[in-house]
């Protein structure tokens, strides 16, 4: 097998790539000048000018990604004002906007090239084993605030839109290795990319391996292998196909060393695989475009074990088998129409059909798939009133088999002052639909109790009456392009979140010997008002130097203290990059996170983190980097035993 894969790799690497030396067809000079050429920068490929965006958008571009030197995708979101990043364990980062962060967070929509990576069963995003390599990312657009009109329900607090590079930009071969010399975490990463062009097809194959030991005190090591393929095909001058598929396989450390007989969360290894398919067709016309997208994502988790004999109260020798295995699938067919009527009016509308499937004895107490179907219709209108006013109105209707039809409208008014300043007023409503677990979960603890036999203890029961969470948002923002390469954005916002889906208890009579026991369930209740200010600055005076900084000041007031304390009052970051000359480059970032109570974690005091990076660029696109993370004092994250310690690693990368 090894020999065959080696031969295959050799064949792939030896494929001729497009290079200037390859002979070109003998077209006349006239043809190159005047013949029809396919549109490459279509409206859908070009982001809307940030000055005219009807939402607060932060962009993490490729330059920022490389300057950060980070290995974990989640760490990039420390560069967005108001975002909170924590690590539930070394391989389970939590990313949230403003607050309400949990390991299986449900308030943020995350998309990769238009495909949702939200896990429909339990919620959350498997950041560490997403089949996505940081090296393939072109840019990340982060919409701070609700945006259901564009991205559907669950674009509740924020939306993260990760965009990978077009295959035509990655022709040739590139590789990198990253390693540390620390005992913890012991890092070993590798990346290989092959890109080729054949007539009207560009394709890219990228693969990577990521491994480290996680935090020193807990069993949270990770080993992840990832493989991605992307093909971009041009058909005629105005039709484009994109085909993407990929998979990741991971081994993740879970649990804790067994210290006594009451413990069930013992050390073990969870295995997970994540696979996807994304097929997109885009047709471009003079007055707009059409996109049809078919996506499928599947996550398989294998985590079952015998925790050993358990003692409960005075009863010893209880045996059980814990089965957290689960399969989640999401399939979606989406159509988006973009029509322009002159320079003044643009309509974007469309719809999607989605099926989520979950199979899990642990979550649903059944061995069959449970389906949830969702239909969505959306439309928005952008109307230029004169040269300086822009009115944007939109609405989304969504109907799921769990809840009833709901709508999420948005309206925004932008007043431009020339092409340098834009004042935006935005009001919107969004919903966060319950997950299948919250709606229909049914978990039990089954044990063999000496002298009693089999005992079944329900631990969670879903609530079929649960309603979506609601958020109503108002914001005023000012984006400015000042002279000298300075771009700023300041926003004052007010959100009201109602009908939080929170944990509740109901009493269930289990008969003797357990009789009446409280069982967890989910229920609507609680209200949170969040207000604050966010500021962001991007300073690029020339090609040598760049500074990004941002901060947020947040005030949360909730009917439930646990929710209120999950909103840190301040977050801030400063990141800078300086090219000393063509060979030497330095960059660094300082992050600040105020004290926070993680809802499924602990109280964590103020955290400050300093990262520094030095890069030496050799000829022919080779570079050598030294990255130091957590260079200030050690700090806790999520739980007191999750201690970020000083860390150094080296990275060697190059094209060949």
């Amino acid at each position: 097998m090894r020999d065959k894969s080696g031969i295959l790799l050799s064949l792939l690497l030896s494929c001729p790539i497009l290079s200037p030396a390859v002979a070109q067809e003998d077209t006349t000079g006239a043809g190159d000048f005047f013949d029809d050429s396919p549109q490459i920068l279509t409206a859908s490929r070009m982001s809307k000018p940030l000055l005219e965006s009807p939402a607060s958008v932060s962009v993490i571009d490729r330059q920022m990604i490389e300057a950060s030197g980070v290995r974990d995708l989640a760490d990039l979101f420390r560069l967005v004002p108001g975002f909170v990043v924590g690590y539930h364990s070394g391989h389970a980062p939590v990313v949230t906007y403003l607050g309400l962060g949990e390991e299986f967070g449900r308030q943020i929509q995350v998309l990769v090239d238009g495909r949702s990576v939200f896990i429909p069963s339990f919620g959350g995003v498997p950041w560490s084993n997403l089949p996505l390599l940081i090296e393939d990312i072109q840019r990340i657009e982060v919409i701070r605030g609700p945006n259901a009109v564009t991205y559907g329900a669950n674009a509740f607090l924020a939306t993260i839109n990760i965009i990978t590079r077009h295959a035509a930009e990655d022709l040739g071969n590139r590789a990198s290795i990253t390693a540390s010399d620390n005992a913890n975490p012991d890092i070993a990463d590798a990346y290989l990319r092959i890109g080729r062009h054949h007539q009207n097809i560009d394709w890219r194959l990228s693969m990577g391996a990521i491994s480290d030991d996680g935090f020193a005190a807990i069993n949270d090591s990770k080993e992840v292998g990832k493989l991605n393929f992307r093909a971009d095909i041009t058909s005629g001058s105005n039709q484009f196909w994109t085909f993407q598929t990929g998979t990741s396989h991971s081994s993740l450390g879970r649990g804790f060393p067994r210290e006594d007989d009451t413990q069930t969360d013992v050390e073990r290894t969870e295995r997970a695989s994540n696979s996807y398919l994304n097929l997109q067709w885009e047709g471009v016309r003079e007055s707009g475009s059409s996109i049809v997208r078919l996506t499928h994502t599947r996550q398989d988790v294998t985590d079952n074990y015998d925790p050993g004999p358990i003692t409960y109260d005075v009863i010893t020798g209880i045996t059980t088998y814990i089965d957290f295995d689960r399969i989640s699938e999401r399939s979606e067919l989406e159509l988006v129409q973009n029509n322009e009527f002159g320079d003044r009016l643009r309509l974007v509308y469309g719809g999607s059909l989605r099926r989520d499937r979950v199979k899990s004895i642990f979550l649903l107490n059944q061995d069959d798939f449970r389906d949830v179907d969702t239909g969505r219709l959306f439309g928005s209108m952008e109307w230029r009133i004169g040269d300086q006013w822009l009115l944007d109105m939109g609405v989304m209707y969504e109907d799921t088999s769990l809840t009833s039809l709901d709508s999420s409208p948005r309206i925004s008014l932008i007043r431009k002052f020339g092409n340098r300043h834009a004042l935006r007023l935005v009001a919107s409503v969004a919903k966060r639909n319950p997950t299948l677990y919250e709606f229909d979960g049914d978990t039990e603890f089954v044990a063999e109790v000496p002298a009693f036999g089999t005992v079944v203890i329900p631990t969670f029961m879903g609530n079929n009456e649960i309603q979506p969470e609601d958020i109503e948002s108002h914001e005023i923002g000012l984006r400015s392009r000042l002279g000298g390469g300075i771009v700023t954005d300041i926003k004052i916002f007010s959100y009201r979140i109602e009908n939080h889906i929170v944990a509740d208890e109901i009493n269930v009579d289990l008969g003797p010997p357990l009789n009446v026991l409280p069982v967890q369930t989910s229920a609507n209740g609680e209200t949170t008002d969040v207000g604050g200010i966010e500021f962001e600055l991007d300073y690029k005076p020339d090609s040598q130097f760049r500074l990004n900084t941002g901060f947020s000041l947040v005030d949360a007031d909730s009917t439930l203290a646990e929710l209120e304390n999950s909103f840190p009052k301040h977050t801030a970051f400063v990141a800078a990059q300086y090219h000393i000359n063509q060979k030497h480059e330095i960059s660094g970032a300082l992050y600040y996170l105020d004290a926070i109570d993680w809802p499924d974690g602990d109280h964590i005091p103020i955290a400050r983190r300093l990262d520094l990076r030095y890069a030496y660029h050799l000829e022919k696109d080779f570079s050598f980097e030294v990255v130091g993370q957590n260079l200030l004092e050690d700090f806790e994250d999520y739980e007191p035993e999750n201690l970020h310690q000083r860390l150094f690693y080296l990275r060697l990368s190059g094209s060949f």
Partner: protein, 298 residues
């Protein structure tokens, strides 16, 4: 074979040709029946001063051409296949060869053919970049760096513009070189170099430039439709006008020497407002741009 008297071989720029009085036979040879060739022909015919008899043929039809008189015709070839066809049919004939890039003209090694090039002179590309974008640095990609002449160097000083050339070869591939260029310059200037900027590479070039948020300025209006920010080029009408100017000068002053080639005299500007908006660039209006460009014309 064209039935006419063969004329002596003439070394261009040294020996003037003599046009006989009376009607002039002008044979226009086009490489194909494309719209842009026909537009140039229409403009040319409209703007030639003297009475002339025009014959328009494609390069395939040239071999069967019969002229009404024994006078030596003047050939106008549009495109490389037409230029080759004229040279093959009558190597001694004088012809004005349009729709050639400088690269193609040099490959042709013409003996008696005046090149009317598609290329703008370099100083015009540079001035266009400066006045369009108010940029300080522009980079281009070449196989062989070009030495700037005194006029071009002086212009760069006056414009306070840095012009950087990046070389590609077997060791230095296009996209890595392009990425380096985009990191170090404010804009990409695409010059007509077939081996570098062509249909196959265009996608990667434009996408990478956009990703770096740097505008691409091109020699081709087709590239602007594809996603370049702007182009300065000679339209079919501009080419027709240029040919007419040269022919009229020849007719009026037959003794004056002809140049071996001329860069484009007349130009048209194309911009992509969508790309400009996406890059948040405010472009000057064309009248203002042209007024500033005129100041740098010799």
């Amino acid at each position: 074979m064209i039935r006419c008297h063969r004329i002596l071989l003439i070394f261009l720029a040294l020996v003037p040709i003599a046009a006989e009085a009376g009607n002039l036979d002008i044979v226009i040879v086009k490489s194909s029946d494309n719209t842009y060739f026909n537009q140039s022909i229409e403009t040319l015919i409209d703007q030639v001063d003297r009475a002339a008899r025009f014959k328009v043929v494609t390069s395939d039809e040239l071999g069967n051409l019969e002229l009404d008189s024994d006078q030596v015709p003047l050939f106008v070839a549009l495109g490389l296949p037409a230029a080759r066809a004229v040279e093959k049919a009558d190597p001694g004939a004088i012809s004005f060869n349009a729709y050639l890039t400088y690269e193609q003209y040099r490959e042709l090694k013409p003996a008696n053919q005046v090149g009317v090039l598609l290329d703008q002179p370099l100083y015009r590309y540079l001035a266009f970049c400066k006045f369009l974008l108010a940029t300080d640095s522009v980079g281009t990609i070449v196989e062989q760096p070009v030495d700037l002449d005194a006029q071009e160097s002086r212009l760069l000083d006056e414009l306070n513009l840095s012009f950087n050339q990046y070389r590609v070869d077997e060791q230095n591939k296009l996209l890595p070189v392009l990425r380096r260029l985009l990191q170090q310059n404010d804009a990409l200037l695409m010059l007509p170099r077939k081996a570098i900027f062509n249909r196959q590479s265009l996608k990667g070039v434009l996408l990478t430039s956009y990703r770096f948020r740097k505008p691409a300025i091109s020699y081709s209006p087709a590239h602007v439709r594809a996603g370049a920010l702007a182009s300065i080029y000679s339209s079919p009408e501009d080419i027709g006008r240029h040919l007419a100017v040269l022919i009229n000068r020849l007719l009026q002053q037959p003794e004056s020497p002809l140049p071996a080639y001329e860069f484009a005299r007349f130009y048209t500007i194309a911009t992509n407002s969508r790309v400009a908006r996406a890059l948040e660039l405010e472009l000057p209006g064309e009248p203002e741009l042209r007024a500033r460009m005129e100041l740098v014309e010799p």
